[in-house]
């Protein structure tokens, strides 16, 4: 490959930017919400769209492959002997859109507003998947691919990839690769290209508290019944102490303290407390005061309430004493914490803290352990150079607060390391109303992926 070819691919990508954007809009317009069974046909449509796009590109053995729930889109191009095989990971499913009334545009309208493309999945991560496909498209049209690629694009990431581990285990040979490129990890800011080397894990629960056999009139029994909503609030309040530390028994036993080197890495990150205040819109930050905000997000475990539901939530007033109350709660985990052990810790917490006036149930949803990637692999070096080429600075190496179960699964099941990056920004409103993709950054992302494939 020559520098002429590299430049030709970059030029081609710039000239076809509108076509790539239209591709992305088509995919965003498919409401492939994985958690909602009513969208199962949209899941199928999104998978079929990707399969058609890969086939059109000349990718071979493209298949929509069933799993226990939502299919995986697979494809490969192995025509460059002697070069590495890059497994490109992506997911085509998206989060729900509630509260839909807070969106400025229809969540699946894929509308361009200023420099941004608005819509559920634009940043997380249909935009990242289409960036990879677009980079390959430009390479294919200007001399061919300089590397070998395989695609693993799943449809369950937003529900914790419950079928993926089994599917990977059943397709070990098919997935053989030198490393995985995973562009689901975002960057620190539009001038701060980033490579992520650590991800938090996840353990997700639903806690239900039961009191009376059915809803009662608060006037007739108020004062003698432990209100389940009150009891749930008391249990949730007890999950943290006054310093923001989590009180599940044994929760921190396997959490390692940060080394001086890790403290120094975090200290290099550009985000200030003011940035976090602006990003979140809160009056004051919260949490373990002995850690910096970036450390709390990247290197400390959490326990978060995702929902509360009890009683009469309609308009107006009703003096019901509710029969039950429930909360969805998850823990973000750091290396060496095990989701199964955290489930046991939560149950022990409830056994110890729940009063005998109520009954509780704790359901476990899917989750996965945290992961730390090896920074010395060739894929990381190739991406680092690519990002330097486009942004003109050394990328930031960061640990990320989110969870990507597939990273741990590829590592533990196939021994494949992931190179984690991506072109989503911290203010992209992932999982929230008005998710967007910053199009100039996305275009730079496509260009850096072209460099990346040449650098391998």
């Amino acid at each position: 490959m020559t520098n002429d070819q590299r430049q030709a691919a970059l030029d081609y990508a710039r000239q076809h930017n509108n076509e790539y954007l239209n591709n992305l809009k088509e995919l965003v317009e498919i409401p492939s919400i994985s958690t909602d069974p009513e969208h199962n046909s949209d899941i199928q449509r999104a998978a079929a769209w990707l399969a058609a796009r890969l086939t059109g590109l000349g990718i071979q053995n493209v298949a929509v492959m069933p799993t226990g729930r939502h299919p995986v889109v697979y494809g490969e191009w192995l025509g460059t002997p002697g070069k590495p095989v890059v497994l490109i990971y992506g997911h085509y499913d998206v989060q729900p859109v509630d509260p839909v009334e807070l969106w400025q545009t229809e969540p699946f309208a894929a509308a361009v507003l200023g420099e941004n493309l608005l819509g559920r999945g634009t940043s997380d991560m249909k935009g990242q998947v289409v960036a990879c496909i677009s980079a390959l498209d430009a390479l294919i049209h200007t001399g061919g691919l300089p590397v070998n690629v395989k695609f693993l694009i799943e449809g369950e990431e937003e529900i914790g990839s419950p079928s993926l581990g089994k599917w990977i285990t059943e397709h070990k040979d098919l997935l053989k690769a030198d490393f995985c490129l995973n562009p689901d990890a975002g960057m620190l800011g539009k001038e701060y290209p980033s490579i992520t080397y650590g991800l938090r894990g996840l353990a997700y629960f639903e806690l239900r508290v039961f009191g009376p056999q059915h809803d009662l009139h608060s006037g007739m029994v108020g004062g003698i019944v432990h209100n389940p909503a009150q009891a749930l609030a008391e249990l949730i309040a007890a999950t943290h102490d006054q310093n923001g530390r989590i009180t599940l028994p044994g929760f921190y036993d396997k959490v390692l303290p940060l080394s001086p080197e890790e403290h120094a890495d975090f200290a290099r990150l550009p985000q200030t407390e003011a940035d976090y205040l602006e990003l979140t819109g809160v009056k004051a930050l919260w949490g373990e005061s002995e850690y910096t905000p970036a450390e709390r997000i990247g290197a400390r475990p959490t326990l978060e309430v995702h929902s509360l539901l009890s009683g009469f939530t309609g308009k107006g007033q009703k003096t019901v004493l509710p029969a039950s109350a429930q909360a969805k709660i998850s823990c973000r985990l750091v290396p060496y914490q095990d989701p199964e052990e955290v489930y046991e810790q939560f149950k022990r917490f409830l056994t110890e803290k729940a009063p005998n006036t109520i009954r509780w149930e704790l359901d476990k949803f899917s989750g996965g352990p945290a992961s730390i990637s090896d920074l010395n692999q060739p894929g990381v070096r190739a991406l680092q150079l690519a990002l330097e080429e486009v942004w003109g600075i050394t990328p930031y190496f960061k640990r990320e607060g989110g969870s990507i179960p597939v990273v741990g699964q590829l590592q533990s099941l196939l021994g494949i390391e992931s190179v984690l990056s991506g072109f989503g920004l911290p203010d992209d409103n992932l999982h929230a109303p008005n998710e967007k993709l910053h199009l100039p950054t996305w275009q730079r992302g496509i260009e850096s992926l072209i460099h990346f494939f040449f650098n391998l």
Copy 2:
């Protein structure tokens, strides 16, 4: 009036039992939910149904009279000079029906199952209103009314009667009466006829807690943001101490201790702890251990959570860090507590306890003070004898946990005392799924009302 006439009216009522039941079914089938604006036309239909029924009975000056929100049905019959004027109070509005999936029958189908009539409003209190009308019907058809009556049937009781105080003030002359019969207070059990002399008051609130500007991804900011659902849980947990006492500053300042006589009255009540366990279906009772369950319900103030709502409450999992969380909360008040002062106490509690990481709002809904009735009025004596006649025992005098704002309003605005009774049972599922009316008890209620009017 002779005993022959009394017996003729009782016989007539028995013979026309089916007709009275069909009347009640018609009224129950109108879904007059007062809190939901979508049911405003049903409110109007229920008021019109009552006006037609009263007119058909020969009641005079019947009118559906507008208020700020839902109309009052008025009517009068003043043709028995020298006898007292009884103001018969009722309400034709009902509670919402959620959770509707827990009902055995359609909530507004008015279906007879065994000895019970099922349906929203059967017991609270369309059944009580129709019992009064049926007793008067039997009297009118067998010699005429032995007393004078006026009707005040409102449509806002289940939302705290927000317009009624103003309407009563504007209609002082119209409402002149010797006392008020209010059959909205129920009885202690089907063999325990009861007269209620104390009612708790109500102060109803909605508390909203705000954190980030919009929903965020818990992985990306979890650990640095005080989750509003967590913060709301912490505030709710802090509303009670470990002994079940309410921690709003000054909340108990005006609450009088129970006198030895009051303790003795409560001790006479037939309910045991086992009865309350069966009624509620809880594993163990809760609350202030230095008071008996009946005292906690009748004579102690409470703070109850009626709803919790935050985040993603749909099926499945979503790792949202919600922007806000809210709860509906009310306090049952005992004599001398003022709803307005309790609102100020709640605001002071929040000002003192809420951390600077969140923002809160507290809205006040309608409410009213507690009330204690005079047991020496002639109306109480007439009803006591009537209940003894039908049930063969001295009725129980009790203080009730619920709130009936009109009782306090009639007392303070017009100087009219209320005689509180009724034929609803503790297991009638008021405000809950499968509300029902025990028809044999209802029939005895109609008969005791006939005695009552004769006894005056």
